[in-house]
Amino acid sequence: MDIPLYIFLIPYGAIIIFIAVWSLFCFYHLVKFGFFDFVGRLNALLFIGLCVIVIGLTIFLLKNVPWLESISSDTLLPGITDVFDPPTNY
């Protein structure tokens, strides 16, 4: 069975949306209950900044992936040298 690579984006996108919605709830509570003060703003900015960095790095690392291509389900996890084999070229 051939699996298109863009399939991997669907669960990732769903989790990102969940994290975004939960974050909005947190910001809503900070603002609504009247304590969006300096410390609140600092932490909100820190959170947003760190998330932007992580998502930016993710996009950068995944931008060269040929998303429209497919891989076979039998060879889903190839492309890695065996982690637990010690190197033989001493």
């Binding site: 994290i19 509570h29 900070l30 304590f35 003060d37 998330c51 995944l62 040929p66 891989i71 040298t81």
Partner: protein, 199 residues
């Protein structure tokens, strides 16, 4: 210092804030420290894998590469979200002592908020407790207020300098009580006989 140290939601026009309290900073430090530790875990794991096999390579068009990048991304985003959630929980817990009331606002998770209010005149007894080495060294602990109201016991959890807080609450209560006695005395003097003050 928060702007709201001089004003808080629901404050009355003739009400002044005597104390504005949050949990001790060490509570916030705990989840900040946890954030740093969690952020270090993926690089440590990568370092260990690299030490076991320095020649490891992942094909950048393989499913495994995509999975690893996405899992690490989700891990970091979840860590930041847990931090934000902990911060909101910490930041929205506070206690206010005014010249009229004692207000306790506690956030338990995002969708659970408890607000309790007590008139200072109803305070019967105030005690403080500092337990353990860390609380002793950093001088933070609990303040317990015995009341004559519907809620028999109020508590301030993990606040700095609890003995001073207890003292201040008693001073505010004494001041309110003296003002009440003064008003009764005034009523007695004006009428020239014992008069029951209007309640």
């Amino acid at each position: 210092m928060s702007l709201f140290h001089h004003h808080f939601p629901g404050q009355r026009p003739n009400e002044t804030i005597v104390l504005f309290l949050r949990r001790h900073w060490i509570i916030a430090f705990a989840f900040v420290f946890r954030l740093f530790i969690m952020m270090l875990i993926p690089p440590i794991i990568a370092g260990v894998i690299y030490l076991i096999n320095p020649d490891i390579e992942i094909d950048q068009t393989s499913g495994l590469y995509i999975l690893v990048i996405e899992l690490v991304s989700i891990y970091y985003l979840s860590t930041f979200l847990v931090y934000l959630h902990s911060f909101v929980d910490y930041h929205l817990d506070f206690w206010v002592v005014t010249n009229q009331r004692i207000i306790s606002i506690e956030q338990n998770g995002l969708f659970n908020r408890t607000i309790a209010e007590l008139h200072v005149e109803k305070v019967q007894d105030v005690s403080s407790a500092v337990k353990g080495k860390i609380q002793t060294f950093l001088n933070y602990g609990h303040v317990y207020i015995q009341t004559a109201g519907a809620i028999e016991k109020f508590s301030f959890d993990e606040v700095p300098n609890p003995s001073h807080v207890a003292k201040v609450i008693l001073q505010v209560h004494d001041r309110m009580t003296q003002q009440g006695e003064f008003k009764q005395h005034q009523t007695h003097t004006e009428h020239g006989h014992t008069a029951t003050p209007q309640r």
